[in-house]
């Protein structure tokens, strides 16, 4: 068995049956081995960045490890954005790149890059294999490491001669991640019981730990009002009466108000990102904080915790739930107060009933939320449409919402949707994108066509980089700079060129028919939605500002003339 065959052997051992890649010179021995391997489906994307982002989407939707493969040099460098995306959002990923033969490393050989050095800051760990006999153990360790503790991408750079070398080392045995312990929750419960206004604050760590059920049971048992980060959307489910929605820069007034007023913040699987907290000095100023996370390095990183519990979220939440079930909290006044705030300060969009009115972004998303099946997976790109989805789409599960949270990668949505569709061929997967983001990985229409994926693509086209335009309007005295995209291609014709049928809509009375048409179609279909160039995402906190100081449309004029970015 050569090195390449050992890689496939590791895939089999770990039930990895879908990988995303693009062949080239130094990775050719692995592609040669794939010819004989019927147990691994290799998905050929049209750009290595899309391979990495598709592997990311596969992992997010399935909860399993995503795998991407590329050759050395440009193949490997093209992966970088996708790997950084996975790193920022703690997505389990295995990255395999070919490298020039060992004797040529350091000679500026054709398609040689020091990919190990380039990617140190965006991987959980990485390897440059210098001994073929070590490859089986490295594969084993890498796959386990990527999925254990706080997940993340692990990169293995493999010289061509190692892929070709006969490996005498026996096949490695599958290892399991070490089991974590459950810390004592008594002090956390005591703090919770003494609080008058406790608030549950959850993030992406809940689904990363596959602790969705434990979280919901805990949320129900505690009855705490709940806010979520962008990646925590879906944690509480549709049925949680105490969910106030997303907090932060484009969060709801209700969520930010509750954070401001609470006296105990119960943080689960969240890293207190600046987009969520706003200016830290003004964040939850009256609250003590309990921070529960799998990663010790997140504790006290940005705000000191009054109590930290590090460990497996499932075990911690189950232990807390058990205690709360026997003695519930008495916080009915606080629950009522939060419900009032939610009624008046939740995400609201006036659904324009006038049939000929132009389409409003939030109104479109609300309709989509009502019409799409409950288990539809929505893969967003980055920008205004991403925030409208976060605000107005009702998700029942965090794995139904694929969004580039930490890195904010335009171009994420389409390949991520491809990955999600491969994770479950029978699910409804919808890529909601903007005209700017769509063009960043539009070549993947060819991948959709090649595999006949029944993806639904929705382009919310405002003919500009809307989020940048919004901030230029509000914080740069409306001085628009290089955001204009009114020379976009004809997206409907473009889709049809890839043999993907497409529709265009521009009026409110066309929304329902447009959405129903693409969902009913048996195959991939694109819906081009023309929306207003001037529409903004409201409410908003100025970058660097406190979450208490949200601005909305009523302050649009004054904000644009007086405020500058700090």
């Amino acid at each position: 068995m050569n090195g390449a065959q050992h890689i496939l052997d590791a895939f089999h051992r770990h039930n990895i049956n879908t990988v995303f890649g693009y062949p080239g010179g130094c990775i050719m021995p692995l592609y040669d081995a794939l010819v004989d391997d019927v147990g691994v489906e290799h998905v050929l994307c049209r750009h290595e960045q899309a391979c990495a982002l598709a592997a990311d989407g596969f992992a997010r939707a399935s909860g399993e490890i995503g795998v991407c493969i590329a050759t050395s040099g440009p193949g490997a460098t093209n992966l970088i954005t996708g790997v950084a995306n996975a790193y920022m959002d703690s997505i389990p990923m295995l990255v395999i790149s070919g490298q020039v033969p060992s004797p040529l490393i350091g000679t500026d050989a054709f398609q040689e890059t020091d990919i190990l050095g380039m990617t140190l800051g965006i991987v959980k760990h990485s390897y440059l294999v210098d001994d073929a006999e070590a490859l089986p153990a490295i594969m084993e360790e890498a796959i386990t490491l990527a999925q254990s503790g706080r997940p993340g991408p692990v990169w293995i750079d493999i010289p061509k001669n190692i892929l070709l070398a006969d490996v005498a080392t026996p096949v490695a045995t599958k290892t399991n991640a070490p089991k974590s312990h459950c810390p004592d929750v008594a002090e956390a419960l005591a703090m919770l019981r003494s609080a008058k206004r406790p608030l549950l604050y959850s993030g992406g760590g809940v689904s990363l730990a596959q602790a969705e059920d434990s979280f919901r049971q805990f949320a129900q048992a505690s009855g705490m009002p709940s806010v979520v980060t962008l990646k925590g959307i879906g944690n509480p489910g549709k049925g949680n009466p105490h969910n106030l929605g997303m907090l932060g820069m484009h969060g709801s007034r209700a969520a930010n108000k509750a954070v401001d007023e609470c006296d105990l913040l119960f943080v689960i699987g969240a890293r207190l990102d600046d987009r969520a907290t706003g200016k830290l000095d003004g964040f939850a100023p009256n609250a003590r904080m309990i921070h529960i996370d799998a990663d010790a390095a997140e504790i006290n990183k940005l705000r000191p915790a009054d109590l930290a519990l590090r460990g497996d979220l499932n075990q911690i939440l189950e232990a807390c739930t058990k205690e709360l079930n026997s003695e519930p909290l008495s916080i009915s006044d606080w629950q009522k107060q939060c419900k009032t705030w939610h009624t008046t300060g939740g995400f609201q969009a006036a659904d324009n009933e006038e049939s000929l009115a132009p389409i409003s972004g939030p109104a479109f998303v609300r309709q989509l939320s009502k019409i799409a099946p409950d288990n539809a997976v929505i893969a967003c790109d980055v920008g205004q449409h991403q925030m409208w989805v976060a605000q107005h789409y009702e998700f029942d599960h965090p794995r139904h919402h694929l969004t580039s949270g930490g890195l904010g990668t335009m171009g994420f949505g389409l390949p991520a949707a491809i990955g999600a569709q491969f994770a479950d061929r029978n699910s409804t997967v919808i890529n909601v994108t903007g005209d700017g983001s769509f063009m960043m990985n539009a070549q993947e229409l060819a991948t959709i066509r090649r595999y006949n994926l029944p993806l639904k693509l929705i382009i919310m086209d405002n003919q500009c980089l809307g989020m940048v335009r919004q901030q230029q309007e509000l914080f740069y005295n409306n001085r628009e700079s290089h955001i204009n995209l009114d020379d976009n291609p004809d997206f409907v014709a473009m889709a049809r060129a890839f043999d993907i049928p497409a529709l265009h809509i521009e009026r409110t009375d066309q929304i329902r028919r447009g959405i129903e048409a693409i969902l009913a179609y048996d195959g991939p279909m694109l819906l081009h939605v023309a929306i207003s160039r001037e529409e903004n995402v409201w409410p908003m906190v100025k970058p660097g500002g406190s979450n208490k100081e949200m601005i909305d449309e009523t302050r649009r004029t004054s904000a644009s003339t007086k405020e500058q970015v700090a």
Binding site: L120, K124, H125, S126, Y127, A297, I299, N300
Partner: protein
């Protein structure tokens, strides 16, 4: 101005044991830099399977934050923040 700034920036001494691997030192230095610290002195010795690295660092962020980030690295076996006097001798 720079000398005043240097004087006011806290300094720390940190010892790190890492498993031998390609790019071990680069990995360590990269984390130190990106987490807001400057290496003002550094020494290293290597055994058959590990590296012992002593660093003198300057930075205004909490050293515990850097320690936690270094401990997270897969190939880091141990990180010890030493008192200035003890590491002065370790660095020679």
């Amino acid at each position: 101005m720079s000398s005043q700034a240097e004087c006011s920036t806290p300094s720390y001494n940190l010892n790190c044991r890492m498993h031998m691997e390609a790019a071990a030192l680069e990995r360590l230095c990269q984390v130190v830099r990106v987490r807001g610290f400057r290496i003002s002195e550094m020494s290293m010795s290597s055994g058959s399977e590990h590296l012992d690295i002593a660093l003198r660092l300057e930075g205004s962020r909490p050293i515990a934050m850097l320690q936690a980030q270094l401990e997270k690295l897969h190939t880091v076996a141990e990180v010890v923040v030493q008192s200035p006097s003890s590491v002065r001798s370790a660095l020679g």
